[in-house]
């Protein structure tokens, strides 16, 4: 008994950090990063994107595509914003955008015809300022369809990587600080670890091992920091570990986004790469990517299985990395291009769970320009957790998804005076 109790005490004291803001591909978050969005009509490639508000109350969303296919082009950035009602999902294809987000939530523009880039989306308040709303989830599916010589399709889906916003830390500007002393959002990882098959590995599948598939992997690497006037960069150490436990490393500096075959990270001759199976002598391994200088980094791996007897038959899967610890350095995501000029307002027509737009009068639940005693009672109920925020969204003046004492006081003042 004493041993068990001691284990409880020691275990409790030694266990991992208290639950805090994290970067993760599994939980709703305030800032989503899609490391690879690809559109190329010549190869039949497009990206289907979905994004959902996992909260009962509506949320604003500001997004920014950055195109690295031609980063010098005037349309390198594509900014847009929209609103999502409580529990509302939205889906669009990058090539087409979405003319109207259901519920009068705004619109989503298409990307340029040739696009290889990154998408970042941040939760905002009704005025378009970043808000502490860890409510967004999203994923992207890179799809391909070709008709010649025969119809073929390919799909690889990954979850967006989400950064939690830190309570009471957002300063409302367009430079989003990830980690560090002035963190507004959860930090990027110290390293990312990918479980891969080395390029050129051939897997024998089926109970009789008669089905063979050759494997090749591409990495989409994106810096955690995003520049507007000048691009971010990162100096990375790539460490490959094979099944014997042998390790080799290579250091390379990358721009804000790099999409590269695994065996061309270190050389233009894949067969000579340290990431090629010919060098590693085992089929599988891990690749750990650690920033040394510059920005932190996020990544996804696109692993393609190829039929050696018919190399047009191929199928791709997307794999997210393991995230190792947290960076102590800050990364800044510049989100300020262009400044929002319009704020579409959501309407309540589509669903009983939808909510009206920006609160013009804190505490004015019914929008009649005054705050009544029953509305104050509702606000107190929400603050105490006895009612959902959707019962009276106008109490949430800062759009952070909860009601604080200052918002209750503002409502009382409005009740005593005029809105």
């Amino acid at each position: 008994m004493r041993r068990a109790l001691l284990a409880v005490v020691v275990g409790g004291l030694l266990s991992s950090n208290p639950a805090s803001a994290v970067v993760s591909s599994g939980d709703p978050a305030a800032l989503l990063v899609f490391p690879l969005i690809s559109v190329d009509a010549s190869t039949g490639t497009d990206t289907a994107i979905d994004l959902t508000n996992a909260d009962e109350a509506e949320v604003g969303v500001r997004c920014l595509y950055k195109n690295f296919h031609d980063a010098a082009a005037p349309d390198a950035f594509t900014a847009f914003q929209f609103r999502l009602m409580g529990n509302q999902p939205v889906a669009w294809r990058a090539s087409a955008g979405l003319a109207a987000v259901p519920g009068d939530g705004g619109s989503i523009p298409p990307v340029p015809a040739s696009f290889t880039g990154v998408l970042r989306c941040v939760a905002t308040d009704a005025a378009g300022a970043p808000a502490v709303r860890n409510v967004l989830v999203g994923s992207a599916t890179i799809e391909q369809a070709v008709t010649t010589p025969t119809l073929r399709a390919d799909s690889a889906r990954y979850a967006a990587i989400g950064h939690d916003a830190l309570p009471d830390q957002l300063n409302g500007d367009d430079d989003l600080v990830l980690g560090g002393n002035d963190a507004e959002y959860a930090a990027c990882p110290e390293s990312v670890l990918l479980q891969v098959f080395f390029d050129g590995a051939v897997l024998d599948l089926g109970s009789d091992a008669t089905v063979h598939r050759e494997l090749s992997t591409s990495l989409a690497l994106v810096t955690c920091a995003q520049g507007v006037s000048a691009d971010a960069h990162s100096s990375l150490t790539f460490t490959a570990t094979n099944e014997f436990g042998q390790r080799v490393t290579y250091i390379r500096t990358i721009p804000e986004q790099l999409v590269v075959p695994l065996s061309q990270i270190d050389t233009d001759t894949p067969s000579q790469s340290i990431f090629n199976v010919a060098h590693q002598h085992t089929l599988a391994g891990t690749v750990t990517i650690t920033p040394q200088n510059g920005s932190g980094v996020l990544a996804i791996a696109l692993q393609t299985q190829i039929d050696p007897s018919d190399t047009t038959r191929r199928s791709t899967t997307a794999l997210l990395p393991q995230l190792v610890r947290e960076r102590s350095d800050a990364d800044v995501v510049a989100f300020g291009l262009p400044s929002p000029t319009t704020t579409p307002s959501a309407t309540a027509s589509a669903t009983p769970t939808s909510t009206p737009g920006a609160p013009s009068c804190v505490g004015d639940c019914d929008g009649n320009g005054a705050v009544a005693i029953n509305e104050l009672i509702a606000g107190v109920g929400i603050a105490l957790g006895n009612q959902a925020l959707s019962a009276c969204p106008p109490f949430d003046a800062d759009g952070n998804g909860s009601i604080a004492i200052n918002e209750l006081i503002a409502a009382v003042n409005n009740a005593l005076g005029a809105c």
């Binding site: 275990g11 599994g26 996992a54 409580g86 939205v90 599988a284 038959r313 899967t317």
Partner: protein
């Protein structure tokens, strides 16, 4: 001089309270951090599909994992257990149809094949050198399924449950913090309170493949509670809330015993279908019904061309939110 019993009790009670206060709020299932239990909800080796499992030891220590194939397709619930050694920072792979028996340097790998016509779950639990469960949080894993005749493949990350910092090393794995007759304190993080799925409406036309094409999805579900020792499968009832792109809500229920690979077209009174939803995309919330325990899922979506001329699949471990209120229990053999 012996200490008065009441004083000892007071000290222990105080320590226990302090421990409870400093114990972190439980996290949930993870797919991107090291864990002590890995659950692969969809593993298939049935002659038409094979699955490649990749495990990695994220630590600088030699560790081991007790794994079990849990057959969801068999008439009676069956599991096949085995132990794999994982050397520091090393990965390991095998194919489920054949297993792997090989010598890597001076070390051997001996992973059995799954039983014939296998469709089910793979469970892996980190154990110490004596085989006792251990919450080291040093495991990560992923699975890739390949359809053998077409080569169509999809991959997903294993759902991981992290150790809480306390583990008594017995065969009863206490998941979540609820105190029960068996569990004094949680040894592993709880299963999720809610899964959040972004899914195309079942039967919607695929924009890229055009007229006559359609999108469909399947959901593999494994109850978190399972008794491998006595071959007693877990069972869960699931509440479903599906929201279309107008945020309109549709509800239904599903029940799973042992393991299920559900076609979303057939779940909850067709609430996932394009015809019911009226939009091409949906969000779904899956929660344990009533006092039901937690569960783990994996979502696979397939785009099929007109007249089934082509098919392409992708998989994902969906998002989740919050810790389940009810604890779960895994009993190892």
């Amino acid at each position: 001089m012996p200490r008065p019993p009441f004083r000892v009790a007071t000290v222990w009670l105080t320590a226990l309270c302090v421990s409870a206060l400093v114990r972190p709020v439980p996290a949930e299932v993870t797919t991107d951090r090291g864990a002590s239990i890995l659950i692969f909800p969809r593993v298939v080796a049935d002659g038409s599909t094979d699955t490649v499992i990749q495990l990695a030891n994220r630590s600088d220590n030699r560790i081991a994992a007790f794994c079990a194939y849990v057959n969801g397709a068999a008439a009676s619930w069956q599991s096949l257990g085995f132990t794999v050694d994982l050397y520091p920072q090393r990965p390991l792979y095998w194919t489920v149809a054949r297993g792997r028996s090989e010598t890597l340097g001076e070390e051997s790998v001996d992973v059995p094949a799954a039983p014939a016509e296998f469709r089910g779950e793979l469970l892996c639990v980190q154990v110490d050198a004596s085989g006792a469960p251990f919450g080291g949080n040093e495991l990560s894993g992923q699975a890739t399924l390949t359809e053998l005749s077409t080569g169509d493949s999809s991959a997903y990350a294993a759902a991981g449950l992290q150790g809480s910092g306390f583990n008594d090393g017995d065969r009863f794995l206490c998941i979540g913090d609820e105190t029960t007759d068996t569990c004094f304190i949680g040894e592993y993080d709880p299963c999720p309170a809610e899964w959040v799925l972004n899914v195309p409406a079942d039967g919607a036309t695929d924009a890229q493949l055009g007229a006559g094409s359609q999108v469909s999805s399947r959901l593999a579900v494994v109850p978190c509670s399972q008794n491998l020792r006595d071959a007693e499968p877990g069972a869960v009832d699931i509440d479903l809330a599906v929201f279309n792109e107008l945020a309109q809500r549709f509800t239904g229920q599903a029940s799973v015993s042992c393991w299920a690979d559900l076609s979303l077209a057939d779940v909850g009174g067709q609430i996932f279908t394009r015809g019911m939803l009226g939009t091409d995309h949906a969000e779904a919330r899956l929660t344990p019904a009533g006092e039901a325990g937690g569960f783990i899922v994996s979502l696979q979506t397939t785009r099929t061309g007109a007249a089934s001329a082509v098919a392409s699949s992708s998989a994902i471990t969906p998002h989740r939110r919050g810790p389940a209120a009810v604890s779960d229990l895994i009993v190892l053999p």
